[in-house]
Symmetry: C2
Subunit: 243 residues, 2 copies
DNA sequence: CGCATTGTTGATCTATGTCAAGGACCGTGG
DNA sequence: CCACGGTCCTTGACATAGATCAACAATGCG
């Protein structure tokens, strides 16, 4: 009897995965997860490497184990826009896809579960659970993209930065403190922050220091912020942040 | 034998529908379409009426027959942002959903096919074709939302307006002219245009008149533009427009 | 210890948002 | 038919947020 063994192996494979409890993987039962894991091959992408050139997202499907990816496009004027972040548990290749004009790059070192496209398609047919998870993810992505456009359209750069700070704890290292605040480790460099919220490095830097002056945050170092007053930070942003 | 008759009725029901060849409906076979149509009830929404208050999108699913809807949110600062347009063939209630902070309103008089949610869910289970069509639509919406955020983030108001003018012919009345240009009937009033591309009425107006000065368009009247030079109009926007 | 990368700060300039007024258009009712 | 009010659009004057350009500081790495 090899199947139970393979199941066990598969579950072991997922045990330490940062994506195990999020997104697609998070909504799968052990049984389904085991079937999925059996077909997976793990690959790594170093920070700032591009995924498309790895041929992923062209003929493969991938699930993010750990790390973070950015989807980005360049306008002909040379301006880069990050249109979304891909985090552990997210899938790449179905809904999220690098195309001629949308590249997917690693923000930090990232590990992926890689699947042959045909192989995965088969799985989708066989596992309604997986199908539903992917559909659900599709809805999520639409919702996220819509919120980003709302954020960009309805608020100025400083408010957009506040929104980012408030959303970051759910996708970046976050150490909650007893007083309700917490320490955020910002994985994105200033330029990425700027390209995500559609502003410039300089404005990001100035706004952060303004927040510090206002007592909203403390800049512990370039990549670590202590968020002191989540309440004040979220002023006027309710409809973006909820959920 | 009643089934064939009902099929025929159903197909008749769809025959004149503007959405018949687009979006969800466009990718369904006559057989599936007939099954879907059998469960539909047609309703109308007058221009500027809100769909949620009609209880649609809460306990119903709808397919757009004709007209146009806008999805919109208000920031607390009072600024409205249109996050997407819903056109014939699109579905409402699955992916696209009015929520506490996203309202769906009619831009112009609109007709919908309305379904009981439970009823429709059943259909989805039974018809893989429909399932695929809805999934495909989900991908489309994500792609559209992503493009909107790219447009908002990477380009200024004037470029965004150019992009809108170039995309409009696919969803608004358009009369192509032999010289390659054409006459566009803009269904959106200035304020809606502004809220879609995240600028102000005034800037929209000024930009349009600037385009006229530059010979790119002629403003025949407030709602009709002759687009003279699609080439020049699309300068620098390639990655937004393709497809 | 250079050197490269990343982040900060200052000075300047302009696109565009805001405010305010006026014009065009349309339907209604006298 | 015209006067009226309403909605939608246009135009002008003005102020300013934030982009741009440029220099410099901090950090990390070989």
């Amino acid at each position: 009897m090899t199947a139970p063994l393979r199941n066990a192996e598969a579950i072991l494979h997922c045990a330490g995965c940062a994506g195990r409890n999020h997104g697609v993987c998070g909504s799968l039962s052990d049984r389904t997860l085991a079937r999925v894991a059996q077909r997976a091959r793990t690959i790594s992408v170093a920070a700032n490497d591009r995924l498309c050139e790895e041929d992923v997202s062209c003929h493969h499907i991938a699930l993010v184990q750990s790390g973070m990816l950015r989807m980005q496009s360049h306008s002909l004027a040379g301006r880069r826009k990050i249109t979304g972040l891909v985090v552990p548990g997210d899938s790449i290749g179905q809904i999220i896809r690098g195309t001629r004009d949308t590249a997917i790059e690693a923000v930090i070192d990232t590990r992926l579960c890689l699947f042959e496209s045909a192989n995965f398609a088969q799985l989708i047919e066989q596992e309604p659970e997986l199908r539903r998870a992917l559909c659900h993810q599709a809805e999520n992505w639409t919702e996220k993209a819509r919120r980003l456009s709302l954020l960009l359209g309805a608020y100025g750069p400083a408010s957009r930065l506040r929104a980012l700070l408030l959303l970051a704890p759910s996708i970046m290292p976050w150490k909650a403190l007893p007083d309700g605040g917490g320490v955020l480790t910002m994985l994105l460099p200033r330029q990425d922050i700027a390209d995500l919220i559609a502003t410039t490095q300089e404005t990001v830097s100035r706004s952060l220091h303004q927040f510090q002056k206002d007592g909203l945050i403390d800049i512990l170092n370039a990549r670590q912020f202590r968020l002191n007053d989540l309440e004040a930070l979220s002023e006027g942003l309710e409809e973006i942040l909820h959920q």
